[in-house]
Symmetry: D2
Subunit: 388 residues, 4 copies
């Protein structure tokens, strides 16, 4: 096993993008519980996200969601972010909250609706150019609820054609990142349900198209780290949407449901060259804090990723390969588990302190009074949420 | 196999309760799409439900949801229903749409919240007395999202105590029906997650407590007809919430996702004595028509149940038992499949016509102009939905 | 909906390949129950398979499994088959029953073992040339049981290299068909776990490499017909291994667990151009008859595929597309369900009789005395099974 | 959080029963790989199990499997065990490896087969009396593969009657422990598929009947620790069969697949009073070491249970309850995670050494030469496995 000293350079490279919408209200179809102090504007979301970075040093960028975060002047928004110590990141498109999209967007049988969705994507690309963002993330709610409702083949063909129109507008340094999801909100067939579908479309599009892997978007039992390995090998892993789940797309705090799975995923990221500044793989959170406070929820999340990344970096791959070569099943497994069971929290606290960060970011943030302040300040107006 | 003539008496006994909320808007956490003509009041919901009964003869009662269907005068509402040819049925409680219930209701750690939830149940029982309803249905959203968040044991103990307080208020002819659900909206632990839990609480409560089996509330792969068999054997199957699903609690039209499963369930209902007027087992729908029109969606649903009930009634259990005794695996399976593959639709159409009902209820309803009429009439006001 | 007369030409093209091993003993890890009359030689397996074709007209070819069906003279075996009215089909390789393969075959970390596995594949190709078979089917048990045990990335890279060596030996008219499987016998990571992995390897290999879709090899809830659609669209669907399952890879009779799923799969096959003589898509069975008699089990299976193919052919895709265009969710669904619920068994019986086949193949076969005869004749020797 | 010093008394009480069959060969339906040195007799199995106890101090008893471990003189076998430092434990019945049980045992439609199975159970009880064992463990392979094959209701009724006959023969200090399993080897319906079924039968039997929870026997996503809580609350948790799984009943080393789940389970055991000498809850392993060496596999397993028990014991339930009361979701979760992430391995090593045990049991055992010795000694004879 490697030592903590061996891995600090790598740890220093870690950057996790926060989703602006994680600071707004969210919930289930049964109920959205509001919280005091929830942001009402894109600026307030960015201010909250900046707090996470201030206390952890882990979250230098914020992803926007269009139209939820539409503003008149994106340069001004970018400057606002910079003033708060962060930058704007990925632009997330939204084609699931307009009546026109009831039966699909890029896959819709009606040319008019498809063109509307494509135009929205083009608008997102324009915003990217204004904000200096690299990635256009496309997640589609497209799908069908009943067998027969839609022609599965026609929907794929239309999807391919629509994506090609979107792709054509990308600048040289821009990327299209296509997210897949097993199910929800479609309950029979989803048009991009698995990594294979996303991958096949990306290959058809060209070298600027990549797959986004949301850790909550798989069938029960799916070995997610295998997909990480495969996509890195194929050169098409564009980004992660981190979260965790016990059942479906629960969108819980990353690492909360199965920390060992998160460890295995991060080990494969490191093993496959997907870690670090130049890897081209973006780490993002995509979570819902339905019942827990949002900023602390995000702090816990980035800390969980950091702690598990540290454990993953501790693994000595050469040792593992040697044990595999020797057919030593238990020995190889123990090497991996030794890293997982190593308690890195003390070393991380010390290392953070050495870099001018709080040793215990959660404790310091909670003591800072920021939550009380925003609860007091943010009175009136409409709290942000899915759809606003 | 039995003949269609053999089963018409049994078919004539079929009664399926419609949920008032199926006529209101529903959706996913991503979007609720409104529909023209959606009811704005309990009366309009009942009027729509009555149409389903008028065209199919299958849906003589309507379940209410409190507080969504709260009115000042329940006797008047019952009379309104009667005027439309239907009666009021099960009263469904709701303890998931109030800020107080964010961390639970009957299981809440805070005595005050528990008492509030119990008081709500008592109010529901009073409404039952006013409407002449037999069943109080309790589905709880109670649960936790994160390990450690709640004390699983304490929650069970409090649940038992709360249920006992509710139960104590039941009249002699009233029943408490406790529904279980695998997950959602709680994403780590649900307080009544399986039939075993519901059953254990019912036994502890007494002879007026029964289990409600919602066909969409199980883990992947669960053999639901086995649970039907077991609960009938134990004398504790109180009611069904019918719907169908491919993934989680998708709440699709019953029979849409796996018609053969519906057939097997209905066969076990018949086999175990759970079918017919005196069985004590209530057939209810609990579905969401997110993208399809609501009244036709309910018509399709009750027809699906009727068609599959007919197929299930065709099975000759004595023949099956003989094949089992002979160890004839393929022969026994074929007997069952023969009934399933028998196309009963023509016989049912004829039989319906002979009873003064439309041979093709869906076609006649669509031709009736009712949908256009309500779309034109119901302008203004707030469309009903989850939470209104 | 189309009429039965419209679809008989298509039905006449149906050909389903039987696996020789379906006639041998099989079971679970807990127990293999033997059956009287089970074949002891490849010839006896072929004789049994020929009976299925004789009574149904649906099963003109038999797949071999090497080494289980190794013989000295394959030309002689092919002639034997021809004498019995059938031909030899796909050659199935086996790299999971030798001590060397305990930790993998084509993916093994040890070059020696990989070369042994590759040599086995080359031997299979030689047999294909001798038998005139088109397809080499590769299903790998390769995988790992414990995290850390094997290097996921290295295993993929070795797999790609090994497959390339195998592929290089294919004749111009021969194909490599790579099967994927979710899990079992590996319980942590499987080296070809999903269609995406199989597809990516096939594309890398070249135009003679195709994906084999075994209907039992997916995660719970997977929409299999979507994968059919996608692979047909990508031009890489090589063959089906038909069977059915309630839980894992249960290998039950095709259509037994979810007949509606089989219908949807077959509809997408037809819709996507995967049906018929020139489609390049092979229909095969891959099942275990652990407790039911084997020849009747195979008869039931091919009949199930035929009956469901008939229903799928009845669907009028133009009508479906029109309903989709109109946004008529319930109408489109009903069109599909009408075909599914149509009882084609009578028409099929008549049509069979008109072609000189038994109207009721199962009944006639059971009455033929063949089962008694083989039980009496096949005494002594070793019954065939997995591993012999 | 409690300190390690606080929990050593509790740790000293830990006792984990080893299954004799874990030392024999096992595998999947595809292949059983033999291993050098595998025991050929019950005595050799016990000798191997005793090694696990010698090096860990955690495994004082060995469970027998009848008929695999049948001997002429059980008193002599018990003495043999005692000489090796261990005692005989639970007696496991087997009604799945005889041709008569092809369609069931205690549930079989044929009275003769049921009586044979009951007689086998009675024989097991006699052996218990001879060995001084407390528990008769019943796991049934009973179930059906095809709908219609068996009458689900009849099978339950027969099961109840058969169990009553078995139960009647129990001595005052003996218990019947009924294990449930989701599926396998039955692939449609299993006769004891869930805890609810096992619980309902136990309650009907009487106070000496308990549920056995095998951690691998649940549907995907099932919250197992909830079941632990519920069964402890209901006073019916008799024993654990520990193992782990990623997919189905994979029977991997306990803690290997999801260590956090094991932690949560053990926390609920402690929380619910199921831990320690007087709890009446037996900890057992039930695993397959298909590819890893068996004795080290068992050592790893008991160490995993011990390490995770230590973490679970560290949790301060009062702190958790206070956080729940305060509605502090993240705080409560962090309290639990703090215990889980605490690296107890160093403290445990020291504590072991202080009790005269090896600090690193695995390392010392591997260095002891025992594996080489048995590989050299155990030549000839038939290696033990499932079925011998």
């Amino acid at each position: 096993m490697r030592s903590f000293a061996d891995i600090t350079d790598a740890l220093a490279e870690q950057a996790i993008e926060l989703p602006s919408w994680a600071f707004g209200n969210s919930g289930t179809r049964f109920r959205v519980f509001g919280q005091p102090g929830v942001p009402r504007t894109p600026e307030e979301k960015i201010a909250d996200a900046a707090k996470v970075h201030e206390y952890t040093g882990l979250a230098p960028t914020v992803a926007l969601h269009i139209p939820w975060d539409k503003v008149d002047d994106y340069a001004k928004l970018a400057a606002f972010a910079q003033d708060h110590g962060v930058a704007l990141g990925t632009i997330n498109s939204n084609t699931f909250q307009d009546d026109d999209y009831k039966f699909g967007s890029l896959t819709h049988v009606d040319e008019r609706v498809r063109q509307k969705a494509i135009a929205h994507m083009h608008e997102c690309i324009e915003i990217m150019t204004a904000t200096g963002s690299r990635d256009l993330k496309i997640w589609l709610a497209d799908g069908t609820n009943y067998p027969g409702q839609g022609d599965l083949r026609g929907r794929q063909d239309r999807l391919a054609a629509s994506l090609a129109e979107v792709y054509a507008q990308l600048g040289d340094d821009q990327r299209l990142v296509l997210e897949y999801k097993f199910f929800e909100p479609a309950f029979y067939a989803t048009d991009v349900p698995d990594w294979g579908t996303s991958y096949a479309h990306c290959v058809a599009l060209g070298e600027k198209a990549f797959v986004c892997l949301d850790t909550g978007h798989h069938a029960p039992g799916t070995n997610i780290e295998f997909i990480v390995t495969q996509l890195l090998r194929l050169g098409r892993l564009g980004s992660f949407d981190f979260n965790s789940r016990f059942y479906a797309d629960d969108d819980l705090i990353v690492g909360a449901a199965d920390p060992f799975q998160l460890f295995r995923i991060l080990y494969e990221v490191v093993r496959g060259g997907g870690y670090g500044k130049d890897s081209g793989v973006a780490f993002m959170l995509d979570q819902c804090h339905n019942i827990e406070p949002k900023i602390p929820g995000q702090i816990r999340s980035v800390l969980n990723v950091q702690e598990m990344t540290a454990r993953a970096l501790l693994v000595d791959t050469d040792e593992l390969l040697a044990a595999e070569k020797a057919g030593d099943v238990l020995g190889a497994n123990q090497l991996l588990m030794d890293a997982f069971y190593t308690d890195v929290r003390g070393d991380l606290a010390e290392w953070r302190a050495g870099r001018g960060l709080p040793a215990d970011p959660m404790k310091e943030f909670l003591a800072s009074g920021y939550l009380d302040q925003i609860a007091a300040d943010r009175v009136g107006g409409d709290q942000a949420g899915w759809g606003a």
